[in-house]
Symmetry: C2
Subunit: 385 residues, 2 copies
């Protein structure tokens, strides 16, 4: 894909690593989902404004190390300025979107930011996903990127993605940023519909600690350079490929969750409808009692079912079946099971599966979470302001 | 008050301490709130049934050490049997209610339970709140009881209460049980209305880890022995006294929260309405990022406001004011404040106050929570099945 990348070490991030990323691409259709946290950051407010007036963009600029959140009027002006500099230096007619992640409540060091953006814009190379991911990360412990390709009606297409998230130390919250690029031709309306399905099943189905950030953003860009045109008829296989990329990025974010030792996939089956299936998965994923039990490698069915019971749905627990890995641990009532085997399964895998059958309908959902550990408490209690 | 107490060491609790409590009182008006967890325990199902058919009771029986939850038909029969034995031995015409707390998913050891109930019924003495509290507790680290008295229209009245909660080790969840006794004359309808206000402002405004148990129960009993008759006109000062007892018990539960080092009172002011005020308090109380910051004595305003932002209300954060103790730490925007002083305030007090002014209306609410600590993770991850 014709996507050019510029990075710079502007000195915003204390580590001194890359903290500015500029991506330039042909005027492209895009779809954007932004945090609903009402304490939204300046770049989120700016992008929301821009996306109401245009359905094509030609660039994005991201800084890491400072979230430009809770920064008032000045913050908003700075976000706008970041976009303007990029649009000018890259000489593009369509707007650039702006993203920030890092410390909140502190104004951007604009001199450094401007210098960094200039450096990035003046040193464009072909997009390298790993480097791009590194430039947007804060306390991430590894780079998050994924690429795939597909073929529909004999025409091949590409889907590339990068993300950051789950780490935050100084001082406030984990921000999730994700960008997916594809070369298909697609109109905005259809891309928005694909986005809706994809975001629900991926980034809206992960939890590290139940906290939504002021800066969370997810962008899909379709450059239209490829031969494949997405229509009503072939949108499903295309959406699946985008979902593959999004889900893999989402899982990397959970795996890199603060202090996490394992990724937990909560697979809910036979719910009344999708909304219920998702709700049930989420209730389990958010339960601190469940998350600590997973850290302790404890096949504790009581905590799982009780988290579901807390939703006050009219679930008949005498029909419910619950597995941890291959181990059936509850089947309408407590059952005797190979406890040692289940403990070993939890202990020896850094990716574990819970399967919950509600026997109420045919909707299913997978929710992704991680365990709650000493390290989580340490990171969030000790390494602070 | 004419309340007789029997306790026994039946051997249900591994510690060997008192695990059966029987209380006998004159046929009394009562109001009962039970867990809404749809995985409700057998005694909860039984009491719900009883309370639909009678508005007077004469006794309660509680066992600790086994929750009789997720125990199916057999569990329900056992709960019923506990009530029957008590009703028979105490020779009462009005029913007894049954409560259980402890391990879930294991049938009650009925031989021990029956022997214990007999022993308790045969050794009635005057109610001693401390002993009664001890008999219903599981992993509580101290007894929870509180008593007060009041005077309305020249007539005095008493309000006594006991509670247990917040500790759970083996294996499943913290159960909250609370019983309040008063000697006023009141009809059931009015007592139910008092209950509604009291439970919302006390036990429904506390959080240890966001997990609602299968056995949570709160009972108010009005024996009617006293001279004071509660009417529409004098119900408010009476409700206040009941709330005083309930709030003090609720705070003891939070203080004894698993691994907690401090009780945190989140005081929300100037919300649009009470529902909003409570929601905002709860959102902060449930935030793991906030709870770990409190453990780390970190006056982290970003985590507090972000938790509020997550509710997606149309709050104007440029009007919001936030205090930790006496320290104004946010006033429409980040403000410079005596950070060392605020840290010291958090460090040196085991009861701390957050004050949040939303400037949207005149509703207020106080929500009680505790910090999230290494010890919480240890208790819930390590000491398990």
């Amino acid at each position: 894909m014709n996507i050019k990348m510029g990075v710079a070490k502007a000195g915003i991030k204390p580590s001194g690593d890359y903290d500015i990323l500029v991506l330039k691409f042909p005027p492209s259709v895009y779809s954007l989902v932004l945090t609903q946290n009402s304490l939204a950051a300046a770049p989120v407010i700016y992008d929301r404004m821009i996306s109401q007036t245009t359905d094509r963009i030609s660039a994005i600029v991201v800084n890491s190390g400072n979230a430009n959140a809770a920064t008032g009027e000045e913050g908003l002006k700075n976000a706008e300025k970041m976009a303007q500099i990029v649009e000018e230096l890259l000489d593009i007619d369509e707007p650039a979107l702006v993203f920030s992640t890092g410390v909140i409540g502190v104004q951007l060091p604009m001199e450094k930011v401007e210098k960094g953006i200039k450096e990035a814009c003046n040193s464009l190379t072909d997009l390298d996903l790993k480097t791009a991911s590194r430039a947007i990360s804060t306390t991430d412990s590894f780079e998050k990127y994924y690429q795939t390709e597909g073929e529909i009606d004999g025409k091949s297409f590409k889907v590339w993605g990068i993300a950051k998230g789950a780490g935050m130390i100084h001082p406030n919250m984990a921000t999730m940023l994700a960008y997916i690029f594809t070369d298909v031709q697609i109109d905005k309306h259809l891309l928005d519909r694909v986005m809706k399905v994809v975001v629900e099943r991926s980034f809206n189905s992960i939890d590290v600690d139940g906290c939504e950030s002021t800066n969370d953003s997810f962008l899909i860009v379709a450059t239209g350079e490829g031969k494949l045109k997405i229509t009503e008829e072939n949108k499903t296989p295309f959406a699946k490929k985008v979902l593959e990329v999004a889900t893999n990025l989402a899982k990397m974010i959970v795996k890199d969750g603060e202090g996490a030792t394992k990724l937990i996939q909560i697979n809910v089956f036979n719910a009344k409808d999708r909304e219920e299936a998702k709700k049930v998965g989420e209730a389990i994923a958010l339960s601190n009692l469940f998350k600590t039990a997973m850290f302790g490698n404890d096949p504790n069915w009581g905590r799982i079912l009780s988290a579901v019971g807390q939703l006050h749905l009219d679930i008949d627990f005498s029909r419910v079946k619950l597995y941890i890995g291959d181990f059936l641990i509850y089947s309408g009532e407590p059952v005797s099971f190979d406890r040692e085997g289940a403990v070993r399964y939890l202990k020896e895998n850094d990716e574990v599966n819970i399967y919950l059958y509600l026997e109420r309908g045919d909707a299913d959902w997978t929710y992704y979470t991680c365990d709650l550990t000493y390290k989580y408490v340490e990171i969030n209690a000790e390494y602070t302001t």
